[in-house]
Assembly symmetry: none
Homo-oligomer: 230 residues x 2
Amino acid sequence: MNKQVKVLVVEDDPNICELVTLYGEKNGYIVNVAQNGMTGLEMFYDTTPDLVVLDIMLPEMDGWEVCKEIRRFQKTPIIILTGKGESYDKLKGFELGTDDYIVKPFDPNELMARIKAVLRRVNPILVENELIELPLLKIDMNQYKVICDTQEIVVAPREMELLYFLASHPNQVYTRQQLLDQIWGLDFDGDPRTVDVHVKRIREKLGDSDRCWRVQTIRGVGYKFEVDNE
Amino acid sequence: MNKQVKVLVVEDDPNICELVTLYGEKNGYIVNVAQNGMTGLEMFYDTTPDLVVLDIMLPEMDGWEVCKEIRRFQKTPIIILTGKGESYDKLKGFELGTDDYIVKPFDPNELMARIKAVLRRVNPILVENELIELPLLKIDMNQYKVICDTQEIVVAPREMELLYFLASHPNQVYTRQQLLDQIWGLDFDGDPRTVDVHVKRIREKLGDSDRCWRVQTIRGVGYKFEVDNE
DNA sequence: TCTTTTCATGAACGGAGCGTGAACAAATTT
DNA sequence: AAATTTGTTCACGCTCCGTTCATGAAAAGA
């Protein structure tokens, strides 16, 4: 198991703090929060985080100052949080060496994705690879790549996610609705049989040779990714 | 036997309350209902449920408040009930530490499935595994798989459910009508002899070797899954 | 033994559920 | 803006499943 990744959030809005903390912990990070720039810096030296999420509009000491101060001796990755109105000075950001930025209001999942991306770029060891390997099948969610029978296969995003989800829960049956909720999201309000079409496309792309795994239809229930045990 | 699982439902629509209660009790849960957020919280501290089903649109105190309040010190799993139209504030977080959510109008069985899934993830001991293992017989409802004499058997959905139900209540006799009510549902209005045909098909699929278990006919009454206690 | 009741079994019908191709819409790329 | 890729829906056909019915066998009671 990898060591726990520490994230420092410097942000004065307690709601956002709470939100980021919740999502961060859900993703397995240790999250520390500072409500202003000063305590942010203190906490930085105190906890030596692997990444900093930094609001620009801060009381006492603004985000750029914090950023500059951190960058004097450390190259810890920094993700900037900026309000919609606040003109984010790209040049300034580059000069100060930030790694990414996200505009409020933001989708927490989006932020999590960015954190993961930055961490991977800066320190790949910290990030667990979303990779599934089976005989004659390799699904790499990071590179969005599927290799089947030693040759790469072009799989569309949705197909990729569906295949990955099924394959990461082998032998477990899921109803169409469960798959829609998990992969499409709760707000998707469409035909459950959409899943069928994606399954079909996955199947025809992977071919129908005899392997120790397959996407199985369970009539009256749904689908499962079946793997033969030895 | 496992200890009884307690579920708290916080929902103002009495119809939904009744529905969830009915289904919940059928699944062996102790169901408590609160009609608004305030009494919901009181009842939470009062009954210490194992899981909370929480509507978002509530009088007096909205679901997010209840959620936040519960989450202050407890990590009791929460399943959110949300209307289709209600746009949830992404920033606020529709997943403010909730474990799952389901959109109204929903299929009660779907909700039951989610409750079970969440419970299994959070506290596996509370959930009885949908798995029956006997000498020369394995019924796995999660994988929708029956293994008899070390080889897999293809069993149709209804047969599967019937076999599972009987096998999970060994040596208990059920009339045809009871079986219809339990498995087909109360709204089924057909020939009770339908059960006979399914029993027959189960029997011929499982073979008629001498084993320590069998589906027994009790003449004039119904059927039972008989297991020899050596 | 004969009658009656109850169950097992095979066959058959109707329908639900799924695979598939194609069309359309939306997003993405060029 | 055009072209390509991707996502979704629809319609058709087919298969498999659930249900019912008819018939004969088995059990129970007289």
